[in-house]
C-alpha cells in the first residue's frame, strides 16, 4: 500500500453555516457564511487559495455542474475550482481533492466547500428524479428510506434479533441524536424526543418510522487545508492533521454478485480497514475518541458501528442500547446531532462531520464539548444505497497523536 497522507496535511481553518430550512437564503449566502468563518479561522486572504473543490449534488448553472458557482460566490482569484460529486459522500470527496493537492505539493493552500440548497425543491425529502437510462428500466426507483430500511430485515435475519429489540435500538439512535442536537445552535432540529415518540411515529418505509429518518436541510461547510509547516508559519500551534482519507466504491458485487446478505455495508468495511491502516490505527475502539457517522437513517448508524469494527458483528444493536455511543458514553457518535438533527445538506454533510470533529479536537465545541479531550476522531460519510454506494472515511487528530 502507498504510504498515504497521514500527517502530511493540516487543517488551517473550518467553517459551517447554520443548517436548516433557510427559506430566505440562496446557496451563495450559505457558501459565504461557511467560507467567512473558515477564513477567519485560517487567517488568510482569498488570493492565497491556490485551488478549490466544490461538492454539491443537485444544483447546476447553465449546461450543468461546474466549479463556477463557487468561484462567483466567493469571488475567488480565478483559482481552479473542481466540482465533485459522489452522492452523499461528496463533501468528503471535496476534502480529498484539496488534501491531495496540498499533499502533492501542487498547492500550498486549498479549499474544500460543500453546499446544498434543498429547500427549493418543494419536496419534504430528496426530490423524485431519474436514476439513469438503464437504471430506470431495470432498477427499483425506491426512496432512500425504502432502500435503507432493507438493512433492518436482513440484519434481524442474520443475527436473530427480534423486531422489537432492533426497533428499540434504532429508536435509541434517534433519541440520542436529538438530545445532542439540543446543544448545537447551528443544528436544524433542536428538540429532545423520547423513545415512545420514535416508536409510535408514522411509518415511512417499514420498519423505519418518521424519527428513524433524517430530513434534508440547506447548509454549507468549508475546510481550508495546507501543510503542517505552512500552518505553523501562519502562527498555528495546535495543529490538526489528516490521518487518513479513504473512499471505497461499490463495484456491483453486492447488487449483482453473490454472498452479500444485505445486513451490512461492504464498502464501509473496506474503507475502514484502509483508513485504519493509513492512520496506523490497530485498536480502533481504544484509539478513536469520537465518531461522526452517516446516520441518514437510524439503522444505518447502528450497522455502521459494526462495519467500522467498533462493535462486534451482531452486537451493534445492544451496544447502542447500552449507551456506549451516547454523548457521555465510551465513544460518542453524533455528538453534534448528526445528520438526524444537525441536518443533511447533501454536498456539505461530509465536511460538516469533519467540522465537528475539528472543533472537538480543539476544545471549541461549546456546550457539547466532550470533557475528555478527543485525540483522534473519525467521520464516515456514505453516498448511495446499501447495495451500491460510496463509503468515505476520514480520520483527523492532533499532529502529535
Amino acid at each position: 500500500m502507498a504510504k498515504g497522507i497521514k500527517d502530511r496535511v493540516a487543517i488551517l481553518g473550518m467553517g459551517c453555516s447554520k443548517f436548516g430550512e433557510r427559506w430566505n437564503d440562496d446557496a451563495d449566502t450559505l457558501m459565504v457564511e461557511a467560507f467567512l468563518e473558515a477564513m477567519v479561522d485560517a487567517g488568510i486572504e482569498t488570493s492565497q487559495i491556490d485551488a478549490a473543490w466544490l461538492s454539491v449534488a443537485f444544483d447546476a448553472v447553465n449546461v450543468g455542474p461546474s466549479g463556477i458557482p463557487l468561484g462567483i460566490a466567493l469571488r475567488l482569484d480565478n483559482a481552479p475550482v473542481t466540482k465533485v460529486e459522489n452522492y452523499c459522500a461528496s463533501g468528503t470527496e471535496a476534502l480529498r481533492g484539496a488534501v491531495y493537492a496540498v499533499a502533492s505539493g501542487a498547492a500550498d493552500i486549498a479549499l474544500a466547500l460543500g453546499v446544498e440548497k434543498l429547500k427549493d425543491t418543494g419536496y419534504g425529502g430528496l426530490p423524485a428524479r431519474t436514476r439513469g437510462t438503464m437504471f430506470d428500466m431495470v432498477g427499483v426507483n425506491g426512496s432512500a428510506p425504502g432502500n435503507f430500511a432493507q438493512l433492518a430485515g436482513a440484519y434481524r435475519a442474520r443475527h436473530g434479533v427480534s423486531p422489537m429489540d432492533l426497533k428499540r435500538a434504532m429508536a435509541h439512535v434517534s433519541v440520542k441524536s436529538h438530545a445532542n442536537g439540543v446543544k448545537n445552535e447551528k443544528a436544524h432540529l433542536r428538540k429532545a424526543i423520547d423513545m415512545d415518540t420514535v416508536l409510535n411515529a408514522p411509518m415511512i418505509a417499514e420498519p423505519l418510522g418518521l424519527f428513524d429518518c433524517c430530513g434534508v436541510s440547506d447548509g454549507a461547510a468549508c475546510a481550508i487545508v495546507t501543510t503542517p509547516e505552512i500552518a505553523r508559519s501562519l502562527g498555528k500551534s495546535d495543529i490538526i492533521t489528516v490521518k487518513a482519507l479513504q473512499i471505497a466504491v461499490s463495484n456491483g458485487w453486492e447488487l449483482q454478485g453473490s454472498g452479500w446478505d444485505g445486513s451490512y455495508f461492504h464498502t464501509t468495511r473496506r474503507a475502514a480497514a484502509r483508513a485504519y491502516d493509513e492512520a496506523g490505527i490497530t485498536r480502533p475502539t481504544e484509539q478513536i475518541s469520537l465518531m461522526e457517522v452517516h446516520d441518514c437513517f437510524s439503522i444505518t448508524e447502528l450497522v455502521t458501528m459494526e462495519d467500522l469494527f467498533i462493535s462486534e458483528e451482531g452486537k451493534g444493536w445492544s451496544d447502542v442500547l447500552s449507551g456506549r455511543f451516547d454523548a457521555d458514553g465510551e465513544i460518542p457518535c453524533q455528538i453534534d446531532g448528526g445528520l438526524k438533527c444537525f441536518g443533511h445538506p447533501i454536498g456539505a454533510s461530509g465536511l460538516r462531520m469533519i467540522y465537528e470533529n475539528y472543533l472537538q479536537l480543539l476544545g471549541r465545541a461549546g456546550p457539547r464539548q466532550r470533557e475528555k479531550a478527543p485525540v483522534m476522531a473519525l467521520t464516515h460519510n456514505l453516498g448511495g444505497m446499501p447495495n451500491q454506494n460510496v463509503s468515505a472515511i476520514s480520520i483527523i487528530g492532533h499532529a502529535d497523536a
Binding site: 427499483v140 428510506p145 432493507q150 447488487l255 453473490s258 446478505d261
Partner: protein, 485 residues
C-alpha cells in the same frame, strides 16, 4: 405427426372486484345494477395490461416446454395497449422466443380470438402460439363495468402430440352492431339488450352454430362440450337449445368468477374445457361478434398425458377486492392527487431499451463461461470477485428460475399507484440476484427467505408521451388453489 392444439394455458388477474361493491358505490345512480350485483369479476392490477397478461398465459401454456420450435405468434385483443407498436412482439421478447418468428396482432372485434386461432389451425407448416387477452374499460356505473372481466389465454398450435385436432370450422360475417367502440373511445356504446339477445345471439349466433354442426356432420347430442363465451344469463342455453345440444354440456362461462374477457373469452373457456375434457371427446367452440366463428375439435389420447390443474390454478388464484375506488384509480377513471413524487419524467430511452431488450424485456442475465457466475444484467467484465473475466457472458434466462427474498421493505414515500411500494433484493436459485419490485404482494406474506416467481409487468407509465415501460417483478409463490384463504 398430427397437427392441432399442442397445449393450453390461462391467466386471470388475482384481484377480483366484488360486484356488490360496484353496486354499493353506484346503486344510488344506477339502481338497475342490483340485478347484476352478484359474484365477482377479475380486474387487472395497475401494472397489468393485455401484453403482461398474455405473457403470463403463454408461460402457463408453455411451462418448461422447449420454445425454439415456435415460429409464429399472435396476440388477439380489442384492448391492446399500443395501436402502432406491435403488441405481440413485446410478448415475443418477454417469452425470449427466437427472432425468427412470424408475429401479428389480431383485433377489430370480439371474434379476434377465435379467428386468430382458426388462422393458426389452418397453417400446418407453422407452430403458432395463439395468445388472447383483454382489459376492456367500462364507464363507472355501466352494465359493462359489472360484466367485463380481465383475463388472458394461450394455445399452442402445431404438429406433434396434439391434445385436440380441428375437425370442422365455419364462419359468418354480419355487420350486426350490438355494440361498438370507435378507435379513440374509452368505452363501448351498446344497443337495446332484447334486440341484442333475440336478433343477435338467438338468430345469428345460434343459427350459425346450427348450420356449422350440420356442415360438420356432428349431431347436436354428440357434442361433449359446448363453449358459448357469453356471460349474459340464459344466452348459452339459447345456443344449445337451437342447435340441439344438451344444455348440461355447456361450459361454465365464468361470469360469476372472472367476467367476460371479450376476445380472449372463447380461448380462456377452451383452455378450461380442454383441462377438464377426456380423450376422444367433441368440443365445439363459438366465437361471436359481427358474425360467428364455430370451431369443432376432437380431443386425442395425448390429452390424458397432459399436466392438469394449471388453468384451474390460474382461475383459483384470487383475492377479493372490495375497494371500488382503488379500482377506479387503477383504470384511470378517477384521478387522485398523486403528489409531487409522481411528477418524475418517465421518458424511456428507446435506443437503450432496444440494445438491452433481452435483459429488460426477457430478463436474460449473463453466465460467465469462465467462472459460472450468474449475474443480472450482463456486463463486459464479470462481477465475480477477483476474476477479471472479460467478454465471457453467455445468455442466461432468469424469468423461470425460482427466487428468494434477501431484503425487503414497504416504502410509503416513493410514488406507486398502489402504496406502499413493496420491493427488495431477490436471489435466484443457482445464482444471480436483483432488486425487484414485488407484484401482487400483501404485507403479511413478505419475509427474508420467502419464495418468489418472476412476472412480467408494467414498470412505469410515461403519461407525457403515452408510453408504457415493461419489466419483471417478483411475486410471492402462494399455496396451491384452494389452500389460500
Amino acid at each position: 405427426m398430427t397437427f392441432g392444439i399442442l397445449d393450453f394455458g390461462a391467466y386471470v388477474p388475482r384481484r377480483r372486484l366484488q360486484r356488490n361493491a360496484i353496486h354499493g358505490a353506484n346503486g344510488w345512480f344506477a339502481g338497475g345494477l342490483k340485478g347484476l350485483a352478484r359474484g365477482e369479476r377479475a380486474v387487472a392490477h395497475w401494472d397489468e395490461d393485455v401484453i403482461t397478461m398474455a405473457v403470463e398465459a403463454a408461460r402457463n401454456c408453455l411451462g418448461a416446454r422447449d420454445r425454439t420450435s415456435i415460429n409464429a405468434l399472435s396476440l388477439a385483443s380489442t384492448s391492446h395497449p399500443f395501436a402502432d407498436r406491435q403488441n405481440a412482439v413485446v410478448v415475443k421478447e418477454a417469452l425470449n422466443l427466437s427472432d425468427a418468428v412470424g408475429s401479428s396482432d389480431a383485433s377489430g372485434g370480439l371474434r379476434a380470438g377465435t379467428s386468430a386461432l382458426l388462422a393458426a389451425l389452418l397453417q400446418p407448416d407453422r407452430t403458432t402460439l395463439c395468445a388472447a387477452a383483454e382489459k376492456r374499460l367500462a364507464r363507472p356505473a355501466s352494465e359493462n363495468e359489472m360484466l367485463f372481466g380481465d383475463a388472458a389465454a394461450a394455445l399452442l398450435v402445431g404438429s406433434g402430440d396434439v391434445v385436440a385436432t380441428l375437425v370442422g370450422h365455419h364462419s359468418v360475417a354480419t355487420d350486426f352492431v350490438d355494440h361498438f367502440r370507435s378507435s379513440d373511445a374509452a368505452a363501448d356504446y351498446g344497443w337495446e339488450s332484447r334486440w341484442v339477445r333475440d336478433e343477435g345471439y338467438a338468430k345469428i349466433g345460434a343459427g350459425a352454430l346450427t348450420a356449422a354442426l350440420g356442415k360438420f356432420g356432428i349431431a347436436g347430442e354428440k357434442v361433449d362440450h359446448l363453449i358459448v363465451p357469453v356471460t349474459l344469463r340464459g344466452v348459452p342455453e339459447i345456443f344449445a337449445k337451437k342447435a340441439g345440444v344438451r344444455p348440461e354440456v355447456l361450459c361454465d362461462p365464468l361470469g360469476a368468477t372472472v367476467g367476460d374477457s371479450g376476445a380472449a373469452h372463447p380461448l380462456l373457456l377452451l383452455a378450461a374445457t380442454l383441462e377438464r375434457a377426456e380423450p376422444g371427446q367433441t368440443i365445439v367452440l363459438v366465437g361471436y361478434g359481427q358474425g360467428v366463428d364455430v370451431l369443432a375439435f376432437k380431443t386425442t389420447a395425448a390429452l390424458a398425458g397432459i399436466e392438469r390443474g394449471r388453468v384451474a390454478a390460474a382461475l383459483a388464484r384470487r383475492v377479493a377486492e372490495d375497494n371500488y375506488l382503488r379500482h377506479l384509480t387503477f383504470t384511470g377513471a378517477l384521478r387522485y392527487e398523486l403528489g409531487m413524487r409522481a411528477e418524475q419524467d418517465q421518458k424511456t430511452a428507446l435506443t437503450a431499451m432496444y440494445r438491452n431488450r433481452k435483459a429488460v424485456l426477457g430478463l436474460v442475465g449473463g453466465k460467465c463461461s469462465k467462472t459460472g457466475t450468474v449475474q443480472f444484467p450482463p456486463s463486459d467484465i464479470s462481477v465475480n470477485r477477483n476474476e477479471q473475466a472479460v467478454g465471457t457472458q453467455e445468455d442466461y434466462p432468469l424469468a423461470d428460475i425460482p427466487a428468494r427474498i434477501l431484503t425487503f421493505t414497504a416504502d410509503a414515500l416513493t410514488f406507486t399507484p398502489d402504496p406502499p411500494n413493496r420491493y427488495g433484493m431477490v436471489e435466484f436459485e443457482g445464482g444471480g440476484r436483483m432488486m425487484a419490485e414485488f407484484a401482487d404482494a400483501d404485507g403479511d406474506d413478505i419475509e427474508v427467505g420467502r419464495e418468489m416467481r418472476m412476472v412480467f409487468r408494467i414498470k412505469a407509465i410515461d403519461e407525457l408521451r403515452d408510453f408504457k415501460r415493461y419489466f419483471w417483478k417478483a411475486e410471492p409463490v402462494r399455496a396451491p388453489a384452494g389452500k389460500e384463504s
